[in-house]
Structures are given as structure tokens and as C-alpha cells.
């Protein structure tokens, strides 16, 4: 028992240290640019968790982050790195606006589910190419999904400047989707939107799929040992290729929710840093979805807090990015250390 306790501590310690490291370096950075670090900490926390309103902001950030992390985790369980979740997210958003502009008059009960399904479909279609290349020619999925990201950026640019372009803003952005397509919010303060509910539901489904179904078993088996899986009748190559498509559906869902729940239009650059940030929870806690959720929330807190720092203290935008990259780096370091610790 005692041995187990100390094991848990020695596993957690690197993460705690790296968290403290981030906190310290935020302070140092703030001090360097002439701001009061403690004022910075206070703003960071109060603007992300301090009031129902700020919690709403954090939750809005949490939704895409968690979904994107899931989009990375599902293929990761099969041993595949879906770094293309960003492009798939964008395609999901394209799918969402497409439905709303092509069928503008559907009632919400049909329209919203259709929009979400379209997001998932577009997202997974975007992964079909890398999945096929992997299955047929063993093309490394990291390379192919990243390439698809770049194509997605241009596709979004094309759509946002094309016929659906909103002429009233001087930015590549489409017109707003109809109000019949906007996700209703269920609680006002803190705002609990349908997006959050769908996200929690999606996570529950993913959990059930991975740990309770034979297909999820095969996913994990292929991740654990593709050759042994093959010998015992699992089509390893197919399973690992499909895992990317499945992950992509979740990324597509994230993009659709972002359109229908927050932005109400397709916007160039709307992916923000979600692709990169989603790697953190996914890589730290690939084996526990609850962990993925908790860490995603934590990152959403930091993400929301640092953007408030920009607004309130006038900290340059790059500092926020710097902090987030630092966090990623330190956590990966912690993971590497924890992993090599026998």
C-alpha cells in the first residue's frame, strides 16, 4: 500500500513540478516586461474561474479543446498520431456552414442535428485520404495529416472569400448562419450551452466505444501490438486507418459546434491553437479519458486567463502563446521523465 502511494506520488511529482515551473515562468515573464506578477496571477484566475461569466468563457474554450483532444486520443489508442485534427476541425466548420447556407429554412430540430452530422462527415472525409494512404501504401499518417491541414487552410480561405463571403467585415469570413442553426444555451449563468452537453455526451460515447465494445478492443489491441492482433484475426492495418477517420469525425464535430455555438460563421483562422493545445491532454493522459477532460479544462483555464492578461494588463499576444508552448514543453518533459522512471 505504502509502496503504491509513493508510486503515485513519484508519477505525479514531475507534473506538479512542471506546473509550478509554468507558474514561475509566467511570473518571471510578467516581471520582465514590467508588470506585477501577482497582479497577473490574480487576473489569470479571476478571469477564467472567478465569476459565472468568466467560467462560461472557460467552458466555451474547453469544448473545442476537449473534443480536439479526443480526436487525437482515439487514433492514438491504435498507435496513430492524428496531428491533422486541425484541418478536420476546419472541414467540420465548412460542413456546418454549407448545410446552413444550402438548406437555410430547415427547422432547428432537423437542421441542428444535420449540421452536426455534416460537420462529422466533412471532418472524417478529410481523413479518408491519409487513412487510405496509410492502409494502402503505409504512408506515415503524421506527414499526410499535416499536409491535409495546409490544404484545409486554403479551402477555408476559398470559402470565406467566395460567394458566402460577408462583405460587411474586412476579413475572410462568411455570412452568419441562420438563427435556426444556432445551438441554444440551456443555462444562462454560467452559460451551459448545448455544445457543452454534446461534448460530454461525445466523450461518454468515446469512452464506451473504446472500453466496452469489441471494435474498441481491437483499436487498443492494434495499438498495443499490431502484429499479434493480425495473427489473432484483427485486420490491423484497417483498424489503424479507420481510427484516424473516427478521430476526424470528432474533430469535425468540434468545428461544427464552434460555428453553431460560438462564432455563427466560418472564419479564416478560427482553429486558433486548438490543434497544438489538444496534444497536451491527449499525450499526458492517453489511457484515461477523465484525465484528458481534466487536463483539457486546466488548459482552457490557462488559455482563457492568458487572453485576459492581454486585455487587462496589455501583455502582448505572443506572451500568451509563449506560456502555452512552455506548458506543452514542460509537460512533455515531465511525461518523458515519468515514463523512463522504473
Amino acid at each position: 500500500m505504502k509502496a503504491q502511494q509513493s508510486l503515485v506520488i513519484s508519477k505525479l511529482l514531475p507534473y506538479i513540478l512542471s506546473f509550478l515551473g509554468v507558474v514561475a515562468s509566467v511570473g518571471i515573464l510578467l516581471a520582465l516586461i514590467g508588470k506585477n506578477p501577482f497582479e497577473g496571477y490574480r487576473i489569470l484566475l479571476s478571469s477564467s474561474l472567478g465569476s459565472p461569466g468568466s467560467l462560461s468563457l472557460t467552458l466555451l474554450d474547453f469544448v473545442p479543446l476537449f473534443l480536439m483532444a479526443l480526436a487525437f486520443v482515439v487514433p492514438l489508442r491504435a498507435g496513430k498520431y492524428n496531428v491533422g485534427n486541425e484541418g478536420q476541425f476546419l472541414l467540420g466548420a465548412v460542413g456546418a456552414v454549407t448545410v446552413s447556407f444550402v438548406l437555410p429554412n430547415l427547422p432547428s430540430v432537423i437542421g441542428i442535428p444535420l449540421l452536426l452530422v455534416a460537420g462529422m462527415a466533412f471532418g472524417s472525409l478529410w481523413a479518408v485520404v491519409p487513412a487510405f494512404l496509410l492502409y494502402r501504401f503505409r504512408v506515415n499518417e503524421i506527414v499526410s495529416t499535416i499536409s491535409m491541414n495546409f490544404i484545409a487552410y486554403y479551402l477555408v480561405l476559398f470559402v470565406t472569400t467566395g460567394p458566402w463571403h460577408n462583405p460587411l467585415v474586412g476579413y475572410p469570413q462568411t455570412n452568419q448562419i441562420g438563427s435556426n442553426y444556432i445551438l441554444p444555451s440551456l443555462v444562462r449563468t454560467p452559460q451551459i450551452g448545448t455544445g457543452l452537453i454534446i461534448t460530454v455526451l461525445a466523450a461518454a460515447i468515446v469512452y464506451f466505444y473504446i472500453s466496452k465494445t469489441p471494435a474498441g478492443f481491437e483499436l487498443r489491441a492494434v495499438g498495443a501490438n499490431p502484429r499479434a492482433s493480425l495473427v489473432y484475426g484483427i485486420k490491423s492495418n484497417f483498424v489503424s486507418a479507420m481510427s484516424i477517420v473516427q478521430g476526424a469525425a470528432i474533430a469535425g464535430l468540434a468545428g461544427a459546434i464552434q460555428v453553431a455555438g460560438l462564432l455563427f460563421s466560418l472564419q479564416y483562422g478560427m482553429q486558433g491553437n486548438y490543434g497544438l493545445l489538444s496534444l497536451v491532454p491527449a499525450l499526458i493522459s492517453a489511457s484515461s479519458l477523465i484525465g484528458v477532460g481534466l487536463i483539457s479544462f486546466f488548459i482552457a483555464v490557462i488559455d482563457t486567463g492568458t487572453s485576459a492578461l492581454q486585455g487587462v494588463l496589455g501583455v502582448p499576444y505572443e506572451i500568451g502563446l509563449l506560456i502555452e508552448s512552455l506548458l506543452l514543453l514542460l509537460i512533455l518533459l515531465a511525461k518523458g521523465y515519468g515514463g523512463s522512471n522504473r
Partner: protein, 527 residues
Amino acid sequence: MVQDAGGSVEANEGIEESDRTANNPLVSMRSVVKRFGSILALDHVDIEIMLGEVLALLGENGAGKSTLMNILSGLYRADEGEILFEGKPIVVRSPRDAIVRGIIMVHQHFELIQNFTVLENIIIGTGSNEKGKEKSVRKEVEKLAAENNITLDLDARVKGLPVGVQQKVEILKALYRNPKILILDEPTSNLTPQEVDSMLSTIRKLAEKGYAVIFITHKVREALAVAKRITILRNGHVMGKFSSSEVTADSLVEMMMGAKPSSNLESSSHTSPPSAEPLLTLSDVRTGSSKGRITLKDINLTLNPGEILGIAGVSGNGQKELVEAIMMLRKPTHGSVRLLGVDPMRLSTKEIIELGVSYIPEDRLDDGILPSMTLYENMVLGSHDIEPFSKRWIMDRDAMIETTRDAIERYRIYPPQSEARVGVLSGGNIQKLLVGRALLSRPKVILAHNPTRGLDTRTTDLVLRNLVAQSRENGAGVLLLSEDLDELISVCDRIAVMFRGEVVGVLDRQQMDRYRIGAMMAGGATA
């Protein structure tokens, strides 16, 4: 603690013996304790290692042999206890700390780099691969190999080499590092009888040259043949230390297992019903060539219901290719196969498993297990999506665990926890799992490739009994591929001998003779 009566006969010699050597052990491990979670793998273990002699570390599967030596070689750290080197306490924190003192271990599961050549694997990390040195290094390695009776093609790529050959590469690699203490973890379990003999004489010579050799095994006969002193481990305890001249094989077995060894397997007497259609027929089967693999040449074999057909052969003569062809993991390019009444050529591996074929692969780590997953998940691999483990797209955890509990009990798998991750099991226990899985669902055809490798006598016996029972009682056909001739002769109805991808002869019971089979295995004679 069991102290065997056998010692008293030659008590004088034994005491003198231990007095002389006990004065100056090169290494002693004192009171070593190692826990893995709740498992106590080593419980205050003491051993002494002397220069110039072979120490056999004898014990059943999971006794703690590998763990003890992993501690000495720096892979694990002891929870308690100390290591004395030349009388002074030392700290071994990493393999490097061990290597600088000349402690080199050849592991039970190989760690060669598959895409490197034999030579590259041998010299890796020693700085010998610098430009200009190639010629002299090659000479050096060749000389070392010759001195120790090891024949190897230094330029062959390791990928696809038979395990027996890889074993030799590992040993040569260890010798090249100039060991003082050479630890060999079950070095004979991958070898043919002839190769075992030459390995044992190599080991004896190494000791004569002044090395300290630690020979881990659960084969009593080999321990007696090669070691001067024998230390027996059971369940993490030292059960006794003996000079090999003062003990008998039987008493060693008893101490190892804590019980009298069971009687030998009765030789089988099988008469297949003449009308029965064969379960498996291979006609003129060939496979295409791929790098490092043997191609099958016109294989003709039949396997009848209730029959155990042995496949003898030196490892790497097409046995793996043969089973892979039947499992359609390697599709034949020529000839025809008939399996349980159907043509399997167009079937997937999954469909073949569903026909009632079960497979115990030779390479248990690569082909057999999901190391990061639990015992119960590994147990159902291959039948995970059918009843009783899956019902209507949902897996039934209770059913999986119940089945796994049965197998744990029946095959004495340790640790007896369905939830343990398989990666932490000892080699022998992994093998028990593979056997348990293969016999889970009353298979009609069993392809068993070295099913008893790495198992102690008692478990070997149990596995063979189960295979025999499957064929005699359930009418299953068993294809038993093994390098252990005694095992084949004791249970098989017929034995086919393979050499370079061909079946060079099929012998029935009256024709089974060790020497004749041995000669055929070496390509010397035909049936």
C-alpha cells in the same frame, strides 16, 4: 528451508568445496528483496558468484531468476539488500554501472536491432564501428566466434533469423564486451538438442577460461551437466545451494517444485478412424520468397482427426512459414490447401480462426501478446468479438474474467490476477497464457509452435497432457512443431521432418528414432 539428504553421502567433499570457494566470491548478493506492487518477487535472497565456475540458477517459471539477475545487471533496483563486488559494497544503478565491472547479461527475450546485420549488432555501442577499423573488428569478432564454436553469418540481417541463431548472436555480442561475469537467461530454450550440447560445452569452456558464468534455467539435467554449483529459487526464496556433485536430478526437481514430479506422459496409441476425412491437407504448397524467410517447397501433409502430427526440424527450416501459410498470414503461391472441409485460400485469418483453428505462435512477444493490456483482455484476443465475451456489440467483462480465472488456476499462471498487465509476466507465464488461450474453445485444429518453450517440467507436462486430451477426447488434430525430439516422440502419432523448406520424410511410431530424426533434421538422410 529444504536441505536435501543427498548431500550427506559426499558431505566431506561438499564442505571442503564450499570452504575453498566461499572465501573469495567475486560478487555476492545479500538479502535482496524486490517487490512489484503487491508481488514479492524476491524475498531476502543471497547468492555468491565465483570466478572460473558456472553457477546454475534453477527455478520454476516466476521463481524470480530473471528478476534477481536483472538487479545484478542494473536493469532493476533492489528494494532492500546489498551487492558486494570483490568484498566491497557497490551500487548498481544502471546497466552501465554493471557493464563497467564486466557484468553482462543475455536476456531471455532478445534485444537485437532487427534491421542491423549480425556484425553491427555485435559491435553496437562499443565504438568499434569507426572508419578504418572495420577490417580488424571483423577479424576480432570472427576469432571470438571461432574460439567459442559459434558459427554465424556476420553479414546476415537479424530480421527473420531463427531464434536459435539470434541466441548465438546475443551470446557473441555479450562475449565481445569482455565480460567477467556472464549471465545467460535460459540460453538453451531456443536451441536444438545438438545445439544445446555445443552451447553447454561453450559455457563450460568459458568458465575454464576464468569467466564467472551464471546459467539460468529450469532444466535440471542441463544445470547438472554444466554447473559446479546450483542455487535453487522458488517463489522468490532460495531453497538450497548445492554443489552439483552432491545432488540428484530428482531431489532438485522436488525442491524446485515443492512436490514430487508427476509420472511421465504415457505414450499415445492413436488409431484414426479409417473413414474420417483429414482435417487438414496440404498439397504441393509453396510460398513466395521474402527477405530472410524460407520458402516452402511442395509441402504435402495431412492431419487426421484425433491425431498429433509432429513437425521436427532445426529452427528456421520453414516451420514458421508452414503455420503462417495455414493461418493465411502468408498466402501460398502454389498448390492447394483443404482445411476443415473448405478451401481456406480466400479466407481471412479471422475466418480461419472461426472455423475452429487455434494457433500458438512461436514468437510469443511479437506474435502472441498485447503487453500493455490485461491478462483477461489477452486471454480473449481472437474470440473477443463472439459469445460469451461479446454480446450484441458489448463486451462482457465478467465473462472474460471468469474464463481467465479458470485458465490461471488450470495453468498456474502467476501473478494470478486477471487485471495484471501481461507485459510484467515472466516468460514462462506468458507461454502458459498463450496455451490457455489456444485451448479455450475446443478447437478442431491446433497449430502449436514450440508450445512448451521456456516452461518448467511440471507445466510442460501439463501442456502436453492438454494437447493430448484435445486430440484423444475431442478429436482435434494437433500440429505440434517442436525442436524437442523427446517431446515429439513422447506424444506424436507421426513426425514429419522439415529441412530447408521441405518435408524430407514422415515417420510413424515404429520408425521414430532420435538419431535417425536428428540426421534427417540436418539434411543427411531421408525416410
